[in-house]
């Protein structure tokens, strides 16, 4: 998932020869191995593997209000979810959301990084300012956006500012037509995340050897767009790819801001919000909810495997 640590992801270290271990040899080290890893592995099985398995099991049963069902219904839950306009609609919502938020966050965080990187004064200060929103939770940020900045009433900040120019009040969230709620959803995530990805870009910018720019200057490249296009951007390619994929996976898990900003509305529901209302809403349909979770899990696995392809796990320094 990261730019710097994925290199060895698919290459476990060969186990050391027992001779290299301390006294006690293989037997003693087997015991030590389980002493160190046992608690974690037990927890991983109970809280990660068992739930997924149980959920796969539940997805074949009619399980309303119960997690120990007895009525086997085959693939009906899957059929229900996949023909359910709300669930498939949530996948469309995710697609729209990702298509906007990924490129916009990418561009803004890269832009901020380029700006901060070239600053001569107060560099650390500005870096901190852009990074600070990362401290806020999505809930807190949603609250500020909903109750203050994009409040649909007269005293919301946006409506106040627009009012100075004679623009009528806009119901940013309460009305899906025109879909102004996308502006709210996108800006809140942008504000929260841009500084975080800026840090990743800044680290990558610092790693570009200055000699490349010197060579380009000798070759007559003009500083500015030309060097950016032909040196900076290619040098940032690995980080850019990683950032795009991280943004995509993060968008897939979007829940907090949609849930809080669009509470009680029927539009703009991404997959996890839809799943929340299916499994924990009035129906408590764990069977259909589990089927939905299985579908989403399979989808994200496909994305992650593609990501592995793109990043070239284990291809060495390329993925830096």
């Amino acid at each position: 998932m990261s730019t710097t640590t994925t290199r060895d992801a698919t290459r476990p270290v060969p186990a050391e020869a027992p001779a290299a271990g301390p006294r006690g040899g293989v037997r003693g080290s087997t015991l030590s191995f389980w002493l160190f890893t046992g608690p974690f592995l037990a927890g991983l099985v109970v809280f990660v593997y068992v739930p997924i398995g149980w959920s796969a099991y539940l997805s074949f049963f009619e399980a309303r209000y119960t997690v120990t069902p007895d009525k086997f219904i085959g693939f009906d839950n899957y059929a229900l979810m996949l023909t359910n306009g709300d669930f498939t609609g949530s996948l469309v919502t995710f697609t729209v959301f990702a298509a906007i938020i990924v490129p916009v966050t990418w561009a803004l965080s890269l832009g901020l990084a380029l700006m901060v990187h070239r600053l001569r004064f107060m560099k650390a200060f500005f870096r901190s300012v852009f990074f600070l929103p990362t401290a806020c939770s999505f809930v807190a940020a949603s609250l500020i956006w909903k109750m203050s900045i994009f409040s649909g009433v007269r005293f919301g900040l946006m409506n106040t500012v627009l009012g100075w120019f004679g623009v009528e009040n806009t119901a940013w969230l309460a009305d899906p037509d025109p879909p102004w709620y996308w502006l709210v959803i996108v800006t809140v995530r942008l504000w929260l995340q841009a500084g975080f990805y800026m840090i990743l870009f800044l680290a990558a910018l610092q790693n570009i050897p200055p000699v490349l720019y010197e060579a380009a200057a000798i070759d007559g490249a003009r500083p500015g767009w030309q060097t950016f296009r032909h040196i900076t951007l290619p040098q940032l390619r690995a980080t850019s790819t990683a950032v795009v994929l991280l943004l995509l996976v993060a968008a897939y898990q979007a829940f907090d801001e949609f849930f809080n900003l669009l509470a009680k509305s029927t539009w703009g529901r991404p997959p996890l919000v839809e799943l929340y209302y299916t499994a924990l809403g009035d129906d408590q349909d764990y069977g259909a909810g589990s089927a939905g979770a299985v579908i989403l899990t399979l989808l994200i696995c496909m994305v992650t495997l593609l990501q592995g392809r793109f990043l070239g796990f284990g291809r060495g320094d390329d993925s830096r």
């Binding site: 271990g21 080290s29 991983l44 959920s55 600070l132």
Partner: protein
């Protein structure tokens, strides 16, 4: 090309925009409702109302003090537990020879493909059948076993200087002794970086606490904040004071632990 002055000016404008939400929190938290909802926009409250803070904790409709306490307990236990469990496992996978270590490591890697948020329904099913809904262990325990944190520790320990451990073995320490007396004390920077990131994501977590916190007693601060947005009565000054209080611990973390935070971000490339 922008000149240096122009660059600083443009950066300053962006920075101001980024600070607007913080300004709004502070302004609203210290104003009266009349000032917030008034006809004309007021940039600052006529007189600063620190009383809003006591009013917030006296308000009985939302148990804010209780939720703050829950978040603190959950945040600390989540951080300490994750670090303990995942670092031990990471060390075991990186350094202790065992026949099936590779296979076990792959079993950990597979879990990285599925973000925990995506499987919240299955996790809820399990935790509710354990009877852990609205309980402290329900909030904390399922989140401790992070395959990703374990993976990070393993990668880190692979790069830990082997000579130091060998010196420990010469002194007669086994794996356990070497780990606690040599490896951990020499890795405090890395532990601090991971701890900072883990605490932030624990404090800011929303989906899981929302699912588990069915009773008000078990709400974390994020769930309490969220409830303000759907409440019938809206007290702007209280809501924003609550937001300010909920953000304050992390702003302090940012101001005083930024070194480790930046290090952690660079090392992990993820948040929450």
């Amino acid at each position: 090309m922008l000149g240096s002055a122009g660059l600083h000016f443009a950066t300053g404008v962006c920075a101001l925009l980024f600070l607007v939400p913080f300004y709004l929190i502070v302004r609203n938290a210290l104003s009266t409702d009349a000032e917030i909802t008034g006809e004309d926009w007021q940039w600052f409250p006529a007189d600063v109302r620190w009383d809003n803070l006591t009013e917030l904790f006296d308000d009985t409709t939302v148990p804010f003090g209780r939720s703050l306490w829950n978040s603190a307990v959950v945040g600390v236990l989540h951080t300490v537990g994750t670090l303990l469990v995942c670092s031990l496992a990471g060390y075991g996978l990186a350094r202790i020879p065992y026949r099936h270590a590779d296979r076990i490591f792959y079993a950990v890697l597979v879990t990285l493909m599925v973000p925990a948020a995506v499987t919240f329904v299955p996790s809820f099913v399990l935790v509710s059948s354990l009877g852990w809904v609205s309980s402290l262990q329900g909030l904390v325990v399922p989140g401790l076993f992070s395959g990703f944190t374990c993976f990070l520790f393993r990668q880190y320990f692979l790069g830990f200087p082997r000579e130091l451990e060998e010196a420990a073995r010469v002194d007669g320490l086994g794996y356990w002794g070497a780990y606690w007396r040599i490896v951990v004390p020499n890795s405090l920077n890395f532990f601090a970086a991971i701890a900072t990131i883990t605490f932030i994501s624990g404090w800011n977590a929303f989906l899981w606490p929302l699912v588990i916190g069915q009773d008000q007693e078990a709400w974390t601060v994020q769930v309490a904040l969220s409830s303000y947005m759907t409440n019938q009565t809206v007290n702007f000054h209280l809501i924003f004071m609550a937001t300010a209080v909920s953000i304050l611990p992390l702003v302090l973390v940012f101001l005083f632990l930024q070194r480790w935070l930046v290090q952690g971000v660079a090392q992990t490339g993820i948040k929450g």
